[in-house]
Amino acid sequence: MFKRTFLIMMIFVALLMLGLSGCGAPEEAPAPPVSPDTEPPEEAVAPPAEEYPRSPIFLIVPGGAGGGTDVLARVVAANAGEHFQQPLVVRNVPGGEFTIGITEALQSEPDGYTLALTPSDPLVFAPHTVAPEYDLEDIYFFDTVSMGAAALTINPDLGFESVDELLAYARDNPNELRIAQSNLRFEMCIELLRDAGYEFVNVPFPGGAETTAAIAGGHVDISLTSVAAVQGLHDAGMAKILMTTVPDLVNIDGVPTIEDYPEMNEILGAIIDTPLGIIGPKGIPEERLQFIHEALRKTFEEDGFIAMANRLGLPAFHVGADAFEQQTRAEYEIAKRIIEQTR
C-alpha cells in the first residue's frame, strides 16, 4: 500500500519536474499582462493551412536565468502567447559565452518551433574566439527586440566632468586609467580606443554585478556596463555616468550621449550598442516565417510589452530583419579585424 502511494507520488514529482524544465511546460503558459493600461486582446487570427503552430514554441535564451536577456525573453514570451496562439516557452541553455544555446537553436529542426532571443554577441564575437559550430550563414534573422544602451561611468573622485576631459587625460597618461567591463563587446571598445591613441588598462570582470561593485567600491577608475547596472549609483552620486549611448531610447537628465562627442561616436559608434534580437535556423517554411513575423510584430505593439521593456531599461526597438542582419554582419567584420590584430 505504502509502496504504491510512494511510487505514484514520485512519478508525479518527476512529471512536475519535466514540466518545470520546459519540456512542454503548461506552467510557463504566459499570464496575460494585467497592467491597467493594457487593451483587451484582439481576436485571434485563423491559423495558416497546415495548422502551425500546433504545440508550444521554444524561445532559447543562451544565458542563465536572471540575466538581462533572460528577463527580456520572459517579457516577450508573456506577451506573445496570444499572437502565436501557443505559449512561448523560455528555455535557458547557458554556457560557452552564449554559443551552446545558439548552436542548439541553429541546429534544431527548422520547423518554426525553436527560436532564440539573443544579444548579437555570440553571433559576431564568438566565431573568432571559441570556434562554435555555426556561422552567420546559418542564421535567419527575424527582428531586433531592443537595443542595449551602454554607460561609460567613472569614479566621481577622478573629477572629470566630460568625456573630452577623460580622453585628454588618457592620451597624456597611457595605461593608467583602469576600465572594468564584463563582455567581449566592451573589450572591443577598449581595443578600438587603444587604436585611436587612448590607452586604458582592461580589467575583465566575470559579470555585470562584479563590474558594478568594482566601480562602486573604487577598485577601478572607469566602467563600461549597461545603463541599468549603474543608474541607481549615478542617481545617488556614488558613480558618475559620463556618457550613454542609443540617444533615441535612453536618456538620463544632465548626461550627454555619444552623439555629443563626435570623436567617440566615430571610434565606438558602430559597435558599442548591443542589439538584442530573435533568430532562428535557416530553412523554416515561408508561410511559417510570415506567421512568426506577423505574431512578433503584434507582440511588439502590445502596450504591456512596451511598458515592461521600458522598465527593464531595454526599451522596445525594432529595425526589421534586413537591418538587423546588416548590422550583425558589420559588427562581425569589426570584431574579426580587431581579434586578428590582437591575437
Partner: protein
C-alpha cells in the same frame, strides 16, 4: 524608518499577500527538496506570473519560494544523502549519518531551527544596517576576495580526514575539475580533450554535488543492500527517533553562531555564494569543536555538524539582498532574478531606494521575517511525512532518486553533457570513497578554484602585474593574519587528533 514601516503595513495586510505566503513557502520547500531543482528554477518559472502583480505580492512570492527552497534542500540531504539544493551539500556530512542511526527527527529539527533563526538574524542585519554594510562590502575587491578564498581553502584542510595524503589527493582532484571549461578571464576553451567540456563555463555545480554525494552513496548502498538488511536494521533506519534535547541545543549554539556570522558576511560580499558559505561554516565549526561534539565525531552524526552549514547557507539569503537593494548588485544568480523582478516593477535598486520606495522595501523586509516563521512551522509539519516518504524501501527509493536527480540536473541548463558530468563524478567518487578518500575536500576545492583563479588574475590586471596589491590594503593585511592563524589552528588540530587516534 519607523514612518516608512507604518506605511508598509497596509501593503502587507492584504488577502493576496497572505495567500501567497501560505502557498509560496510550502511550494519552495517542495522544490528545494527535489534533487537538482532549487529555488532558482522555481523563481524563474514564476517570474512571468509576477508581471501582473503589484510590487509587494510579486516580490513576496519569489522570496517565499527562495526561502522555502533553501530549507527544503536540506531534507533530502539529511534523509537520503542527496542535496536538494547545491547549498545543502554540506548538510549531508553529519545529517545523513544521524538519520542512518535512526535520529532523523533530531537532524531535521536541527536543520529547521538553525535555518529559520539564522535567516531571521540575517534579515534583521539587513533591515538595520543595509546601506552602511553595503558600503563596507564593496571595499572587498578582487584582492580581498582572493584572500577570503585562500582562507576557505586552508580551512578545508581540516576536512581531509585521518589520512593527510588521501585528503590532499581529493583537494588536487577538485582543483583539476575546477579548471575545466572556458578561461574565466579570456573566455578561451581549456582542456579540449572533450571539446564540449572545454567550451562550458565550467562543470555544473549541482551535477558535481549530486554525483559526489548522492550517486556515489547509492552505488555504495547497492553493494550493501545486496547482502540484505535485517528487520531490526530497517526499523532503526526508518524510525524518526527522539526530538532534540535541551542540552543538544545548548551544545549547538556555538555552531549556530559561527554559521550565522560567516553566512551573513559571505552574503553581503557579492560573488562568494551559498555553497561556499555552508562548507566553510561546517569546516569552521568542526575546528571550533575540536572535531567532535558530545563524544560524536564530526562526519559521524554530530548535531553541530548539521547546525553550522544550515545556519551558514540560510544566513546568506537575507544578507544577499543587502548589495542587491542598496547598490543594485546581485550577489548570486537567484538575487539577479530578484533584481529583474524588482526592476520590472518599476523599482530601481540603488542607494536611494529607501527614499524613493521606502514603504515597499520595508513591506518586503517584514514579510521576509514572517516567511522565516512560516518556514519554521511548515518545516515541522513536514518532518513526519517526508521521513516516511524518503525512508521507504531502498529498492524503490534509489532508482527514483536517480531518475529525479537526472531530470533535475538536466532541467538546470537543458544540456545532456551535465548528465555525463553527474555520472562521471558519481563513479569517480564511488571509487574514491571505497578507497577511503574523502570527497568533501574535492567538492570544496572545485567550488573555490574558479573564484580563486579569477580573483587572483583580476587583482594582477588591476595592479598592472604588481604583486603588492595583495598586501597593500589594511583589509588584506587582516585577512592574511586570519589565514596564518587558520593554518596554525588546522596544524595543531591535526596533531591533537593524531594523538587521540594513536
Amino acid at each position: 524608518m519607523l514612518e516608512a514601516m507604518m506605511q508598509a503595513i497596509p501593503l502587507i495586510a492584504t488577502i493576496e499577500v497572505l495567500i501567497i505566503m501560505l502557498v509560496g513557502i510550502p511550494m519552495g520547500l517542495m522544490l528545494g527538496a527535489i534533487p537538482g531543482v532549487g529555488g532558482m528554477i522555481g523563481v524563474g518559472v514564476l517570474l512571468p506570473l509576477t508581471f501582473g502583480m503589484s510590487p509587494v505580492p510579486a516580490m513576496v512570492l519569489l522570496i517565499a519560494i527562495y526561502k522555502g527552497a533553501l530549507l527544503g534542500g536540506s531534507f533530502s540531504a539529511i534523509l537520503i544523502n542527496t542535496p536538494g539544493e547545491a547549498a545543502a551539500a554540506a548538510t549531508c556530512f553529519d545529517g545523513y549519518p544521524l538519520s542512518k542511526k535512526g535520529y532523523s527527527k533530531k537532524a531535521l529539527q536541527a536543520s529547521i531551527f538553525s535555518s529559520a533563526f539564522a535567516d531571521l538574524i540575517s534579515d534583521i542585519v539587513l533591515i538595520i544596517g543595509s546601506f552602511a554594510l553595503a558600503l563596507v562590502a564593496i571595499r572587498f575587491g578582487p584582492s580581498q576576495i582572493f584572500w577570503i578564498i585562500v582562507f576557505s581553502l586552508l580551512m578545508t584542510g581540516c576536512l581531509t580526514g585521518p589520512n593527510l595524503w588521501k585528503g590532499l589527493l581529493s583537494i588536487v582532484l577538485g582543483l583539476f575539475l575546477g579548471t575545466i571549461g572556458l578561461d574565466p578571464l579570456l573566455g578561451t576553451p581549456r582542456f579540449g580533450v572533450i571539446p564540449v567540456l572545454g567550451r562550458l563555463e565550467g562543470l555544473e555545480l549541482v551535477a558535481v554535488l549530486l554525483g559526489a554525494f548522492a550517486l556515489s552513496e547509492i552505488l555504495l548502498n547497492v553493494e550493501k543492500t545486496k547482502k540484505g538488511e535485517t528487520a531490526k536494521q530497517l526499523e532503526v533506519r526508518r524510525s524518526l527517533g527522539p526530538s532534540l534535547s535541551l542540552s543538544e541545543i545548548r551544545e549547538s549554539l556555538k555552531a549556530f553562531f559561527i554559521g550565522t556570522v560567516y553566512g551573513t558576511i559571505t552574503g553581503i560580499i557579492p560573488g562568494i555564494g551559498t555553497s561556499a558559505a555552508a562548507f566553510l561554516s561546517y569546516a569552521l565549526a568542526r575546528q571550533a569543536y575540536g572535531g567532535k561534539s558530545k563524544g560524536v565525531k564530526f562526519g559521524e552524526g554530530a548535531i553541530p555538524g548539521v547546525v553550522a552549514p544550515e545556519a551558514g547557507n540560510n544566513a546568506v539569503s537575507g544578507a544577499n539582498l543587502i548589495p542587491l537593494l542598496t547598490l543594485g548588485i546581485p550577489g548570486s544568480a537567484i538575487a539577479a532574478l530578484l533584481l529583474g523582478a524588482l526592476v520590472l516593477q518599476g523599482i530601481t535598486p540603488g542607494p536611494l531606494i529607501f527614499i524613493n520606495h521606502g514603504p515597499v522595501v520595508y513591506a518586503i523586509f517584514i514579510l521576509m521575517i514572517i516567511a522565516n516563521i512560516l518556514n519554521l512551522i511548515y518545516g515541522h509539519l513536514l518532518i513526519k511525512p517526508i521521513t516516511k516518504l524518503l525512508k521507504g524501501n531502498p529498492s524503490i527509493i534509489f532508482p527514483v532518486v536517480v531518475l529525479i536527480s537526472f531530470t533535475g540536473v538536466y532541467s538546470i541548463n537543458n544540456r545532456l553533457i551535465d548528465l555525463g558530468v553527474l555520472i562521471a563524478v558519481g563513479i569517480l567518487s564511488y571509487f574514491l570513497r571505497k578507497g577511503g578518500v574523502p570527497v568533501a575536500p574535492m567538492v570544496i576545492a572545485f567550488i573555490l578554484t574558479k573564484m580563486l583563479e579569477r580573483n587572483f588574475r583580476l587583482s594582477l590586471s588591476l595592479s598592472g602585474g604588481e604583486f603588492s596589491i595583495f598586501t597593500a590594503s589594511p583589509i588584506n593585511q587582516v585577512l592574511i593574519g586570519l589565514c596564518v592563524i587558520g593554518l596554525a589552528l588546522v596544524i595543531v588540530q591535526r596533531f591533537k587528533e593524531k594523538k587521540l587516534l594513536g
